[in-house]
């Protein structure tokens, strides 16, 4: 599957495209098929996201799992600071993402 991610323009927070808006939670990201680049261009032009890009992911029990470790870390937060994780600390989620 393909999902779209970027950073919020004003806060810099990592966000994921849900089909209608941007969410902090990758669990809400949807498969955009071949429309990812168009979504990214449109949303960036509207200043709803900064530096969006399309990534490969695979469906998982807790939502999409990005193919690259960089985006898996973006999805949760620094692996050395679980206290700063985006989602509540949950062992299964932690091991699933990283």
């Amino acid at each position: 599957m393909k999902i779209v991610t970027g950073n919020d323009l004003t806060t810099g927070a990592v966000v994921w495209w849900t089909g209608t808006a941007w969410s902090r939670h990758i669990t809400e990201a949807i498969d955009v098929g071949d429309k990812g680049e168009a979504i990214a261009r449109r949303e960036e032009a509207a200043r709803r996201v900064n530096i969006p890009y399309v990534i490969e992911a695979t469906p998982g029990a807790h939502g999409p799992v990005p193919a690259h470790i960089k985006d898996r870390i973006r999805a949760t937060g620094p692996s050395v600071r679980p206290d700063l994780a985006v989602t509540p600390v949950d062992e299964s989620v932690g091991s699933y993402v990283i």
Binding site: N7, T11, G12, V14, E44, I69, K70, G77, R81
Partner: protein, 544 residues
């Protein structure tokens, strides 16, 4: 320390307002990210993995308690309660919001701090010996010269549109604690033939993708000619340096391509063409700056002995207290490398503890180091026990300086958008593997430096043991390097062989260390053993 005059303050305040306008135009859509990016970078603002990151300049690593408390305030109010000391003596915050950045910069300006030129193709923060003004082995305090260079180069037209970033490092000691030979320009203050003070000038050092040890291009430059000489160096680079390939644009590439001899010839010719007839530094201007760096009012006749009957205190003194030029005083390095912690990270509360200790025990003077620690430069020996007790209370009394668990580490893939692999969890694993204090002391001086990518912010090229994280088909992989040094005996570490997984590299480090223990001579540190026996015994131990 240097205090802003009205011109300095006006410049920094104006810069804050300029950036406030730029941020507003970015948020309103008047500026695209492509237009905004070079502007935010020149104000130290990156976009990293999780948020914006703001890198605050700490000129030559010197801070006062008021500034440290402001950093604590920013950590607590605008970030997530902590900051990170970098390998250029700066502090960076990893969770900054763009919309709050002008407010943060305005607050920094109230304590004479800024983030100007901590990124981008500019003269970066000038680094210096963290023991400056206190070291027993220095010939003078190098910081007035560092400040002079900072003022001379900031916003100077010749230095404003450089091919790439540019870094100065200064020391006034034969023992190099500032890694000057790994800088674009390294300056060592020395005595000349007539007993005058001047500079030994090194050019073209650096790490990153193509590491080089700097070449000595002038054995003695009269101090009064410093500005015209560094301008000549920059002019030769501006004229001949490549701008067509980002990987070939640093001055080290030009020095290497031309050869040190030809590069030197061109600099000397340029210098003769542009140098004034007389000294180019008006003495009154140097004295204006130097007046900010007069030694504090040390007490005379203090007891030079330290009561080391408490074994834990004694172990800490052994690692953390260094010889001061003034009898009765010591320089204290505070390790920011607790076992299992994140190297260089400091909580807001710890920043405030250090500010309080500096105020009470160190003439309100603090330093950051390129090895990601903090220094209290002027502590009475009779106060060391009280300082140690307060540090221990704040989890800042780890007695591991220059030992194997005191690693130098970049933020890596946990924070950095350029990184290929995580470096922090690896550092934690290595520190935990070697946590036993007795074993660490037996191993002795051993500097491990880890970078999460080829840009080498973790200085892996000059680690006695270096580790470089790479991306191997989408997974993290780590290369092991041996034999580097960033000190006066500078050398570049060499890759030993094929890379490892995260667990594999920890095992490889352990095998390296055990081989060293097996083959070392009495009192021989790791680096000297490596230089004596070469890589083969280690390679055999690591790969079998």
């Amino acid at each position: 320390m240097y205090r802003y005059d009205t011109y300095d303050q006006a410049i920094v305040d104006a810069r804050v307002e300029e950036f406030r306008d730029q941020v507003a135009r970015r948020i309103s859509g008047e500026m695209s990210e492509d237009q905004f990016k070079p502007l935010r970078l020149k104000n130290g603002l990156y976009l990293q993995l999780h948020a914006y990151m703001l890198r605050v300049a700490v000129p030559y690593g010197t801070l006062n308690p008021e500034q440290m408390r402001m950093l604590a305030h920013i950590a607590r109010t605008y970030d997530r309660g902590y900051g990170h000391f970098t390998t250029r003596q700066n502090m960076q915050f990893h969770w900054i919001k763009l919309e709050q950045t002008p407010e943060i910069l305005a607050k920094l300006a109230t304590v004479q701090m800024h983030a100007i030129q901590t990124s981008g193709e500019s003269i970066r923060n000038i680094s210096a010996d963290q023991f400056a003004g206190a070291a027993a082995d220095e010939i003078c305090d190098p910081r007035p010269w560092a400040e002079y260079i900072r003022q001379f180069t900031t916003f100077h037209p010749e230095f404003s549109y450089l091919p790439r970033k540019f870094k100065f490092g200064l020391t006034a000691s034969a023992t190099d604690r500032a890694a000057i030979k790994l800088h674009d320009v390294g300056l060592q203050l020395v005595y000349g033939p007539d007993g005058d003070i001047g500079f030994r000038v090194y050019v073209g050092g650096g790490m990153g993708r193509t590491p080089f040890i700097a070449s000595l291009i002038r054995d003695f430059l009269p101090a009064a000619s410093l500005c015209s000489y560094i301008e000549a160096i920059l002019r030769v680079w501006n004229r001949n340096g490549r701008r067509d390939n980002i990987h070939k644009q640093r001055i080290k590439i030009l020095v290497h391509d031309l050869g040190a001899e030809e590069f030197t010839r061109q600099v000397e010719a340029e210098w003769q063409a542009i140098r004034p007839n007389d000294d180019d530094i008006p003495l009154v201007e140097y004295e204006r700056i130097a007046a900010h760096f007069v030694p504090p009012p040390f007490e005379e006749g203090l007891d030079d002995r330290i009561d080391r009957t408490d074994p834990a205190f004694s172990a800490w003194v052994e690692r953390s207290a260094h010889t001061h030029k003034q009898p009765g005083y010591a320089i204290v390095t505070v390790s920011l490398k607790p076992i299992g912690g994140i190297p260089g990270d400091l909580t807001a509360e710890q920043m405030e503890v250090l500010a309080d200790l500096a105020e009470r025990y160190s003439f309100s003077d603090l330093r950051s180091t390129h090895e990601q620690n903090v220094v209290l430069p002027h502590v009475r020996k009779s106060d060391l026990y009280a300082v140690w007790a307060a540090l221990r209370e704040a989890d800042l009394a780890t007695a591991n300086l220059s030992l194997i668990s005191e690693l130098i580490v970049c933020p890596g893939l946990d924070y950095c958008s350029l990184a290929n692999a995580r470096s922090l969890p690896l550092a934690q694993k290595i520190a935990e593997r070697f946590a036993d204090e007795e074993r660490q002391r037996d191993i002795g001086e051993l500097k491990i430096k880890i970078s999460g990518c080829i840009n080498a912010c973790g200085h892996h090229h000059v680690g006695h043991i270096g580790v470089l994280g790479v991306d191997k088909k989408g997974t993290e992989n780590y290369q092991l390097l041996l034999g580097g040094s960033g000190a006066e005996d500078a050398s570049l570490a060499k890759i030993v062989g094929p890379g490892f997984s995260e667990d594999g590299i920890v095992e490889a480090v352990e095998r390296t260390v055990e081989k060293y223990r097996a083959v070392r001579n009495d009192g021989e540190r790791f680096l000297d053993t490596y230089r004596r026996v070469g890589v083969e015994p280690f390679k055999e131990a690591i790969y079998g």
